[in-house]
Amino acid sequence: YSNVEKSTNSAFSTTAETLLTELKGKVTSAKDATPVVGASVFLKENPRIGTSTDVDGNFKLNVPENLEKGKLTLVISTVGFEKQEIALSSGQTQVDVTLKESLQVLSEVVVTALGVKRDKKALAYSVTEISGGEFTQARETNLANSLSGKIAGVNATSLATGAGGSSRVVIRGNGSLSGDNQPLYVINGMPIDNSTPGGSPTTGGGGQNVDRGDGIGGINPDDIESISVLKGGTAAALYGSRAANGVILITTKKGAVKKGIGIEYNSTATIDQVVDYTNWQYQYGQGDGGVKPTSQAQAISWGRRSWGAKMDGQPYISFDGLQHPYSPQKNNISNFYNTGTTFSNTVAFSGGNETTSFRASLADIDNKSILPNSTFNRKVANLSLSSKIGQRITIDALAQYNLEKAHNRPSAGDAPGNPNWSNYMIANTVDVRSLSPGYDANGREIQWNETPYASNSYFVVNRYTNDDTKNRFIGQFGIRYDILQNLFIKGNVSRDFSNYNYVGIIPTGTVYTTNAAGEYQGIKSAVSETNSLLTLNYNTKLRSLQVNAMFGGNQRNFTREEIYTNGTQYIIPFFYSFTNLATATTRPATQRLATNSLFGSLDLDYKGILFLNASARQDWFSTLGIKNNTILYPALGSSFILSQAVELPSVINYAKLRASWAQVGGGVPDPYTLNQTYSMVTSSGQPLQQITTTNGEYLLNNPNLKPFTSTTYEAGLDAKLFNNKLGVDLTYYLRRTTDDIVKTAISGTSGYQYSYVNVGQVDNQGIELLLTGSLLKTKNFSWDASYNFAYNQNKVVKLADGVNTIQLATSVGSWAYVNTDIGQPYGIIKGYTMVKDAKGNIVYDTSTGYPMKSGLTQIGQGVAPYTMGLSNKFNYKNFSLDILLDGKFGNEVFSVMNVYATRFGLQQSTLAGRETGLALSGVTASGDSYSNNIPVANLRLYYDNLKNYSNLFIYDGSFIKLRQIIFSYRIPSNFLKFAKIQSASISFVARNLFTLYKKTENFDPESSYTNSNAQGFEAFGLPRTRSFGLNLSVKF
């Protein structure tokens, strides 16, 4: 891929010379004598004189006479064959050439650590690169969600928190027991911040429990040239500790040397439709004990009880005091939510000359949520500049400014302030719209059920507000100085700075707040991630050995300065200011940390057959004690091009073996976790001092923490078979994390609720397979398919002394936990079951008449071990169709919603016993037979009690989804000439169209409401949506 080749590929005609001799020839494949089509043929002495072969492999070239014959050399090259040079003899007019197939077919250049471009075959680890174009047609508002199903071993989970919400991406399983387990995001070689302001939503938070979005969400797909995913430790060793969970490298688009200004415009409009997964019972309506409400007060008390009489369509009194038919209301979900819309527009300008090139883009994405009155807007301006100053200096700069505004992000988790809660749980004969507008003449929330904590959803969407604005600037500046031809020094600085401002108003009239007088929360947050990197690079050739050496240092500084302002009870009703609160507190939270690093790497390339890579890095962490704050970790990898070294059967066009071993070390993610400190509590009386809490948590500090290490062993095979029509990429890995620094919940009786400890060992073993096939190719039609599959087996081998279990999360009501126990995979779900005797009879507690409850036991696994994706691309003339399926298998979900649905009589399973009562039989604790009849009047309490047996609400979380469809039409260029349009295409795009396979009842298997480690719970997230629309892409 020299410059010469590139220029010849585009330069056909020769300049007019006075005398020309015609040189003819045919180019054929050495292997099977078939013609080689499209090979470039040019003169080495003057590459501008060249042509390419036609469909029969023939070429004609006019060779100027004034270039002396006999000294001319003809060069023939094309992708997939070895370049050949032929000396022309004087007067020669015919030359036939046979080309040997080469490995160049696989010579893919990919971006690796620190932004270094390398030939893929030289890599000792698995890297997957995806072009930016994959993300610009069928879009997700959060870029990371688009990774779902595209890469083996990458588990992207989109959350049920709406357009401005965050993402969760886990590569090769959860290696850390409590770290966030998400990869490091890197743009052009420099890390960015991916934190969520104010933290992730929790399982039980109140009305301010919203997902405030993450850092990767702010990257505009149109600005992306490519995304490389570095999965293994070797790949990541050069980024240090934060790369232990893998690295996602984003390379942004740059300007190009060209005449005039290039303009690209990309526009997408999609609509989001609510998908209603509920399938409640519609035989028995609102009520209790088999009777319907007879008064308004009773209808309110029974607002979420569907334990009434058989539906008869007759009028009955509802909670609003009006008569409504006692009939099923099956469309509450679709009646409450709107159709969402998303408009995304990007215009980009690019240009450049020999010394300087630029690209500038402006993007606007505007989302109206399915949730009424909830909107999200993001504007991104991106400017990229490259300049060559003189012979030796190259400068690159990137500036990106984001302005993100969200209005009324939905609250997740348990009931208070969750706008989804009542839509799901309202009694099945009540039209949810009768709750509208949700407040009375005095602005007070209208209660539709007995508890004030189950908010009126219309009140929430009409009266609650939360607004946030994020101003974000990403600046990067790099300078390279070529000291010698093969020695250069490169310096980069980057800063990702964001300023975030959130105000959440739980309004006057909210019945669950004190005196119905409302609450206030404000967050002001300034976060900056700054990295300075200096590298010295040297390459040389020692006989057959190509040597690349690099040495460098990095300084990382991270600061987060936050002010939380909280208060309750607006003194003057409806005046929502921090100055108008009966009680108010202000809390500063500061985090500052730094990591300094030195690193080096050495790459050896022996004749393009054997590659060896060695690297080492030493980190110093400010978050660890001065005695334990440094760690050195090495990595070693090799790849061997088998097909180059030995003769293989002819079906194998290419085969590469690779193996690597790498360590990555890391410190505590958060500062100030070493020594116990004390802090003052705002007091209106005596001074008060407390043991310092961290974000309101009683966190036990540990001065003895030491760095953890994560060691990855990886081996793999790349092969191309059947004339390169089938590609195989197979990887096995073992990732072993030792002395992991874990934040674990501990018994509060220790005086603390959480602690950081160095803990044991976790093993992740897995297989990743990528198959690519060019299944059909004719003149007008082609079919390409790609299938990826990954299996990850996670096992906790050892925990710290004195730690029995790592508790990652608890559900509302402590009905279930997400835990990590020895010998089990990461993130098992634990809960309770009915006690059964050896014969499987349920054992009853005779005093309560209910089944006995077991001790805490494992009831599921929260993380899917199997993931897969299948992509098919069809091209017919100007049409193309791209279909992506993906799936996950082998995990379970604990459904908090179905617990409630059972308690409230919505679940189909609660139909048993409605007419004549429920006959129970089993045994007593002493083994005698036991029977009990639950009369209809008491059915509700019987079913309510089932919440104690959490295994009843565990569902297989496996699914296969039709994730994406893109149907495009490329407008023929001759139609476009008049408008100076180079190319244009219009596409129908769709995402999340259908679920082809699932086992969950009433909810989507992908209903997680947090990007934290609490995976395996579902709790009234925003309904899932199906999106489709149109995309227009034009280049001028």
């Binding site: 500061t590 116990q676 009386g685 005596q686 501990i746 018994s747 509060g748 005086g751 309560t848």
Partner: protein, 488 residues
């Protein structure tokens, strides 16, 4: 390569220096400010039938339900990271400093106060190894038997009381109870010793007697001047407000119209009927009915709501609830150990033959002290001597041990209000007043009043072996399991 890292890793908003008196104040607040709605009103207040609610979720004491939430273990969950850890940290800081021996002794007394309330609600609890997470990296404290805890608490009080020395420095204004008055703390220590010794009369009368006599000999709180209380402020930060007032208002009574009580709470009919039947002047100090959004204290219109209701009664607005201008004032003082209680316990000690004196006089003094303490809630609730004497004349101390005990502890049941945690413990020990449980379908106790609260479910997950050992020893983690001193 790590220069400046140590300085960088210092949180600018925290200090490495502990000021024991500042943390002691916090420990005092936190021991009192613990789940004052869920534990005081819903669990204990419902169980002793001071309070009632028509709702399910807060119906732990009202109808022996636990349908949802964390109410039965809030007290346990909150106690350890706050009051226990704070008072333990104060003790560790001042323990070895001879100059701060009073700070050490008072902190030990406060620790005993803190712990007896936890063990009284739950039985066996982490005690000897609790709050040692930072000091000795113990993340899984064992559960001590209640018997061993009680004996240790009594010993601690004894040692602390005898080590107090009026000539040495004390907490001064950092002590919210007595302003650092060492002599009063001595009385408090012996009074608490007396409370604890009487608590174990059912299970171990001889030990109870020994310690009761020791306490009486040491000097207990018998006069108004020594009553232990904490003052609060009405405005400003929540932590400086009366936590019971704040919690009961927030969870029920803040709406101030008698109809929209958040958790469906009202005074229970058992409580109001008793006060009304006996023409108790405390009725109009404590109870009101909202009439046209105005609190009305007229005795004749007061009525309590039935325990065990499953839906809102149509006349909900006409039931009595606590007066938000007296006992539920945000700056109402909180009585933590009163001369009323001590006088009544003295009457019991005398009829048991463990002390000498006129039981009838102590009984009358107890009632008088309780009625006079109503003045602490403001002039509106003060009860004059004429009313007190009128009441005493109609409620003379009776004869016969059981009848006397019933009389004493029925008075205790009234006078301890709103310290529902102590009222619940005293009722479980004595069985007085005789309460009629409700028996609502789906209740968890087979229609009996709960005998304890529940350990947090998280303990089974996080402190499994110790939790299981405690459950194996004490009985299932249910509301009906009896704790050590609550011998049947």
């Amino acid at each position: 390569c790590d220069s400046g890292f140590e300085e960088l890793n210092v949180n600018p908003d925290t200090s490495p220096i502990i000021v024991p008196s500042y943390m002691f104040t916090k420990a005092q607040y936190d021991a009192l400010n613990n789940s004052c709605a869920s534990t005081y009103e819903f669990a204990c207040g419902g169980s002793v039938q001071h309070f009632a609610t028509y709702k399910d979720v807060p119906g732990i004491g009202d109808k022996y339900f636990f349908s949802q939430g964390t109410y039965p273990y809030d007290f346990f969950t909150n106690a350890y990271p706050l009051s226990v850890n704070e008072i333990s940290t104060v003790i560790r800081t001042v323990k070895t400093d001879a100059g701060q021996s009073n700070l050490y002794a008072i902190a030990r007394i406060w620790k005993a106060y803190t712990f007896h309330r936890i063990t009284d609600l739950y039985g066996d609890i982490p005690y000897s190894q609790a709050g040692e997470g930072y000091a000795s990296s113990n993340f899984t404290p064992k559960y001590d038997t209640q018997q061993s805890i009680y004996l240790d608490l009594l010993n601690e009080l004894d040692q602390a009381a005898s080590s107090l020395d009026a000539s040495k420095t004390s907490y001064a204004s950092a002590d919210l109870v007595y302003g650092g008055d060492v002599n009063k703390w001595k009385k408090f220590a012996y009074s608490l010793m007396f409370r604890l010794s009487m608590r174990i009369t059912k299970v171990d009368p001889s030990t109870a007697k020994t310690w009761a006599q020791k306490a009486i000999a040491g000097g207990i709180i018998l006069n108004d001047a020594d009553l232990a209380k904490v003052a609060f402020v009405a405005g400003g930060q929540d932590i400086n407000k009366n936590p019971v007032s704040l919690a009961l208002r927030s969870n029920n009574y803040a709406v101030a119209n008698g109809n929209d009580n958040t958790e469906g709470g009202k005074f229970a009919s058992t409580f109001i009927s008793y006060l009304k039947t006996n023409n108790d002047p405390r009725l109009s100090s404590l109870a009101v009915v909202w009439v046209n959004k105005v609190q009305d204290t007229t005795s004749t219109i007061q009525k309590g709501m039935q325990n065990g209701l499953l839906q809102k009664p149509s006349d909900f607005g006409t039931y009595s609830e606590p007066n938000i201008n007296t006992v539920l004032k945000l700056d109402a003082p909180m009585i933590i150990l009163s001369n009323a209680e001590m006088n009544l316990l003295m009457a019991e000690a005398i009829i048991r033959g463990w002390a000498s004196g006129d039981a009838s006089a102590f009984f009358n003094n107890g009632i008088t002290a309780s009625m006079k303490s109503m003045a602490l809630y403001g002039d509106a609730s003060a009860i004059n001597s004429a009313k007190i004497n009128g009441y005493l004349s109609k409620h003379a101390f009776t004869t016969g041990f059981d009848a006397q005990l019933e009389q004493i502890h029925t008075q205790m049941w009234v006078s301890l209000f709103p310290d529902e945690v102590e009222a619940y413990s005293n009722w479980r020990r004595t069985g007085y007043p005789k309460l009629t449980p409700v028996n609502i379908t789906g209740n968890l106790t087979n229609g009996t009043i709960p005998r304890r609260l529940l350990y947090p479910l998280a303990e089974e997950n996080l402190n499994g072996p110790n939790f299981k050992a405690a459950v194996a020893r004490q009985g299932a983690n249910t509301l009906t399991t009896r704790i050590w001193w609550d011998k049947q």
